[in-house]
Amino acid sequence: MFSAKVKSDVIKGIIDVTSPLVNEAKFNISPKGISLRAVDPAHVAMVDLEVKNKAFEEYKADEMELGIDLDKLSSIMKLASAGDMVSLEYDEDTNRLIIKIGNLVRRMGLIDTAGMPDSKMPNLDLPAKAVIKASELTQGVRASEAVSDHLALTIDKESFELYAEGDTDTVNLRLPKDLLLELSSPGKYKSLFSIDYFSNMIKPVKGDDPVTILLGNDNPVRVDFDIADKKGHVTYLLAPRIESE
């Protein structure tokens, strides 16, 4: 069984984080909260999401899976204003999710989760770590989008650097240690990433909120941040581009 009450913003936050990568997702429901792990169709990026039961106003659940069409859920959530309370209830008899927004009752058919694979989170060696304000990162990525389709991230002992190079133009964002919330790195680490993917990953975090970046050499980047008033957490992995034969 699953029955919960939650502010619409929390659900919208979950959609913002997952929908850039997948159209359908398998949510794992447990008494502790909701979690999800999915890989995009190109197998380039992974999202791992956890929202604790504390993020909900009311929460009651057994262990179960919900297969959700995110486009559909997103269009339903557009019916709710910011701050609206949304109630969710799983209807076992019809295999539907009953979503109540104010006086509106929306019954949403669920997707069979049998064909949805469980992805494993690779254990990566990512020695460099930087914690950056979301707004700083967003600015650098937006500038890069205009000149190239990929960017380089570098972390060394002194700074975090984002660099993009096009045919004629370049973008460089270098943040020394004192402008970062945290920096720790045993040496210099650098990898290349697709801007399309990377920009989608940092879009859900705004303003002064911290984004944690873990980096290695020609290894995936790991991006971590909190959602739902710190009662939820998101981890993204993005595989690198390696431009050698």
Partner: protein, 440 residues
């Protein structure tokens, strides 16, 4: 790509005055439609007009013949456009003249020859005037819905102006003249199209898809679409022929793509190839998720690279989720996308597809987007070469094409992605033995 266009457009004056060679890139982006060079008429097309000294077919105000059936909706002056029939100066079974699906075994000269005999009658109407008592509108629509050639007689206001007209996306046609009066025989409608025409609750998109499913030729659907025969009643309107071709290709393609994305991946790399009208085509399929790219290389002295001294290469692409902006290289992008999705759907398979086109100097005239759609359909009917690795695949491609492999890769978003972008599982394999699930 978009940023390239921007710089070209803003810097066009300089490019043109200083160096005619650079202007070649403008022509490919413009193809006679946008007049990026700043001239009043497209010099490329004008060159063809002067070359093609078609004698005035008719030196009189009255013309009769069997329309294939065929109509033409102009785009100049939109939303007030010139509509009307295309009429050849003779009677009989003229259907081949407006059925591009059957033209692949003709030569360019033959195609230009029979298309140049089509006289275009022009009648200016507002695009929303699809339902009036205006005879010319009515007859134009009836022709567009007809199944077989229809006897058509037109009286023009002045003698048809004698030249052949080429477009990038539309098939060429001959001289044109404003219509004064028109008369047509009793046309027999194509039954399937007629049904969609009388259904004024059926959306245009659904009409297109239903007719396509029932096996109606694309050129027929497009012709009826252009006269506003489909759609809910108040939304019906004339659609310029050029736009209607891409609208139909793109609508059907989108629908097929939805299904393509759900099918299992192919298991091997595939290469299909075809030489047609001195265009070399390669269709490369990659085992993986749906994504698509069309790369065109125009040799100097081909249609859209008349002044260039070097080969110009352009591409448009989309990844799995599709694209929302109009493709830089225009209608042919959508025509090719439709054709590759037809094959993938028939096989119930998913793949990433890169279509490469080398337009060699023998391709001297633009003959329309149908050339792209039908060439690729034909190429995909041939058996393909199978490979296990992308390296072997590209080695084979480089034998078939003149342009060096590195240049193709440099100009291809999808090949670059496929070669350089790693996948999550590339890092999973490495660590399988000391696998540790990090989440709680």
């Amino acid at each position: 790509m978009i940023k390239n266009i921007a710089t070209n457009v803003s810097g066009q004056k300089k490019i043109l005055s200083k160096n005619m060679g650079r202007a070649s890139t403008l022509c490919i982006l413009c193809r006679g439609t946008k007049l990026l060079c700043g001239k009043e008429r497209c010099p490329v097309l004008v060159r063809f007009y002067s070359k093609s000294r078609i004698e005035p077919l008719i030196n009189k105000l009255r013309l009769h013949g069997s329309s294939p059936p065929s109509v033409f909706i102009g785009r100049i002056g939109y939303p007030y456009v010139a509509i009307g029939p295309l009429i050849p100066p003779y009677l009989g079974d003229t259907s081949i003249i407006d059925t591009p699906e059957l033209w692949l075994n003709k030569s360019i000269d033959e195609i230009v020859d029979f298309r140049s005999q089509l006289v275009r009658g022009k009648h200016r109407v507002k695009i929303t005037d699809v339902e009036t008592t205006d005879r010319i509108i009515e007859y134009t629509r009836e022709l567009a819905l007809a199944e077989k050639p229809v006897y058509t007689e037109a009286i023009f206001e002045k003698k048809p102006y004698g030249k052949i007209v080429f477009y990038d996306e539309v098939q060429p046609h001959g001289p044109s003249a404003p219509i004064k009066k028109i008369y047509i025989g009793n046309p027999k409608y194509d039954q399937k199209i007629e049904k969609a025409f009388y259904d004024t609750d059926l959306k245009a998109k659904d009409a297109i898809l239903e007719l396509y499913r029932k096996g109606v030729r694309i050129s027929k659907i497009q012709r009826a679409f252009s006269v506003g025969a489909f759609g809910t009643k108040k939304h019906r309107r004339f659609v310029p022929t050029r736009w209607s071709i891409t609208a139909v290709d793109s609508t059907i393609g989108e629908k097929l793509m939805e299904k393509t994305r759900e099918h299992p991946w192919i298991n091997e790399y595939r290469v299909y190839n075809l030489n047609q009208f001195d265009n070399r085509w390669i269709i490369l399929m990659i085992p993986g998720e749906w994504q698509y790219e069309l790369i065109e290389a125009w040799y100097p002295n081909t249609t859209w690279n008349p002044y260039g001294t070097s080969i110009s290469i352009f591409n448009s692409y989309e990844f799995y989720n599709g694209r929302t902006t109009y493709a830089e290289i225009g209608g042919c992008y959508y025509a090719a996308r439709l054709a590759v999705n037809e094959t993938l759907n028939k096989e119930k398979r998913q793949a990433g597809v890169v279509v490469m086109r080398e337009a060699h100097p023998g391709y001297i005239m633009p003959i329309g987007v149908w050339n792209v759609r039908e060439s690729i359909r034909k190429a995909l009917q041939h058996p393909y070469k199978k490979f296990d690795t992308i390296k072997d695949t590209l080695t084979y491609v480089s034998k078939k094409m003149d342009i060096p492999l590195q240049r193709w890769i440099k100009n291809s978003a999808i090949l670059k992605k496929h070669l350089y972008q790693k996948k999550i599982e590339d890092f999973q394999k490495k660590i399988e033995e000391n696998y540790d699930d990090q989440t709680s």
